[in-house]
Symmetry: C2
Subunit: 344 residues, 2 copies
DNA sequence: TTGAAAGCGCTAACAG
DNA sequence: CTGTTAGCGCTTTCAA
């Protein structure tokens, strides 16, 4: 079964290959008579010709492909979507890309792994990287010479565009909400707290809110692990072991909250009766949970959409123009928090 | 910033481009002296050369790319991952592909949309399609001339490889379990029941189990909508409106179950006190739920892995050799079912 | 053991 | 308005 090429179409239509190319691409610099245009279209349909985008990108220097790199959250963990947040984000990215005539080249990445493959190699027109940290590999990417958008990363580098949320402010909001509800001892539960990552910002917001209220940050109230359900489970055990000191917790991801609530329940600790929880993300899980989670809502769909738009704009632009985009956050009240009055 | 090509490497190493190609690909038909090989490697490293896979695929006829098509479950719904099942499946596919040196070209698809783009266009080495139905577009894909693996589809066509699960048997198992627990009136709740889809098989399994137990299939016990949380919610309302006739339900997807339980709870109907539920899939949600879901477990990771393996094997094979793969299922008992004794 | 040359399918000047 | 020509970056006979 021979692949039919532009030449076959040209022959069929009795024109040259370039003419076919012109009508197919509506090349603005060339004008084609209605007559030949029709003949070409007819030939295309007759032969069911579909252009080879690979070849096209080779000569035209653009591929209508966007590379998406999603971090492998935990080494050795094969599932990139242990956090549903990624799934929702990817959905939005894919949808937006498709609407704009772009396809997605998807790759998970171990942190120590060379990103280059996906970039330089496939001639992508741009790259979206989710939650990454500075490093050799990241720098190597610059050489790909295509726009790069960092989602949820605090890597500061004018060569990269970024899109994120008000992590610190969101955390502050969440913590303050708990304080307003009368809580004085509030746990902080998150994935690893690392420079350039979102969790350190959220930790800062948490600290700020406590300080503003004249409360002390206690080391033993901070739980830091991995962003997954299992860690939530583990945190619940830890919480009990440490003597249930806090009456509330700010948890920095819904998926952790799910595990945390489950773990608490298994130990007979009630939410929100014994401990109140404010979560973060507002993935669909948050609403499905029992009790449903009071959580800091972020617009994941918008984040994905914006990421694609940034890539496309940057790809179009002549000059590199560094762009930063910060999306707002708001608190959604559900059932995981109750007023607290210190027992007298 | 000029992209460096194989020629630059050749010049640097003082050899020809073809020689560079030989050492890079370990071309078996050519033998290269240790001496030159070293020089080439050195040049590659010095220039940080990364081959352009696009160009390679153009001349070599293979791309190390696998196309993945995920159906847009509902028209107008932009999120391909409204069902976490897809996320888990994609995770596994991506991981397996990456381990084998393949990248993924990802695309959602409206049903009426032409699949061809992703296929012929980009020169993928194979295609994985999730949950599709027969149609023109599907047939058009054959012309791409690459192996195609259908996941969770009952399209029978020797040109396609398939991988699925024992849908009918799983449903039978689930329903029988409820019957064994004493239930006599059992609802069936699923997405659309359509020929060539999984739900019709599950419906058949449900019917079989009822018949075997001498129970009648009642039209009013069948709820069919869309595979998402919202429909679960809606089904709960419907269930109440129809007079709460059943004491148990077999729900064909965990994500629907989540909504169903939530909807029931909102109406003061308790699970499993008032109604027992057996679900399907065993995505991570199932265990997070409250109550945790008794559900038919399928090995989603294995499904994804197998899908990739099928593609790769078929791509390697000379002759087209139709393969079907059916994965086993088993029931996981959790907290959403209770014994039922007819009130006397 | 290596290199020259043709070509994968397409686009983009440049002529005509 | 259309065709010729020269690549894009790589692989792959075929000769040397």
């Amino acid at each position: 079964m021979k692949r039919i090429s532009i030449k076959d179409v040209a022959k069929e239509a009795g024109v040259s290959a370039s003419t076919v190319s012109y009508v197919l691409n509506d090349t603005p610099t060339e004008s084609i008579s209605e007559e030949t245009r029709k003949r070409v279209i007819a030939a295309v349909q007759k032969l069911e010709y579909v252009p080879n985008l690979n070849a096209r990108s080779l000569s035209s220097r653009h591929s209508n492909l966007i590379g998406v790199l999603i971090p492998q959250t935990e080494p050795g963990k094969e599932f990139m979507f242990s956090n549903p947040f990624y799934g929702e984000l990817l959905s939005s990215i894919e949808y937006t890309a498709r609407q704009n005539g772009y396809h997605l080249l998807l790759s998970g990445t171990q942190e120590d792994q060379c990103y280059l493959n996906i970039a330089q190699n496939r001639g992508v027109d741009g790259i979206i990287i989710v939650g990454t940290y500075p490093g050799e590999n990241l720098n190597a990417l610059k050489r790909a010479g295509v726009p790069i958008v960092l989602v949820d990363s605090y890597v500061k580098d004018p060569d990269f565009h970024t899109i994120g949320i008000e992590d610190k402010e969101g955390a502050r909001m969440a913590t303050r909400y708990l304080i307003e509800k009368g809580h004085r001892r509030i746990a902080f539960i998150s994935g690893s707290i690392r420079e350039y990552g979102v969790n350190i910002k959220r930790y800062q917001g948490y600290c700020d809110a406590l300080k503003e209220a004249g409360l002390a940050v206690e080391e033993s109230a901070v739980y830091s692990g991995t962003v997954d359900y299992e860690y939530g489970l583990a945190a619940a055990v830890l919480y009990a072991e440490r003597g249930r000191k806090q009456t509330a917790a700010f948890v920095t991801a819904d998926v952790i909250s799910m595990g945390f609530v489950k773990g608490l329940t298994q130990q007979g600790i009630g939410v929100p009766d014994d401990i109140s929880i404010v979560s973060f993300d507002d993935v669909y899980l948050a609403n499905m949970a029992y009790p449903s989670l009071t959580t800091v809502h972020q617009d994941i769909g918008e984040k994905g959409r914006k990421a694609v738009e940034l890539v496309l704009e940057a790809a179009k632009a002549k000059e590199h123009q560094h762009t930063e985009c910060i999306l707002p956050l708001h608190l959604v009240e559900r059932d995981s928090v109750r007023e607290w009055r210190e027992p007298t």
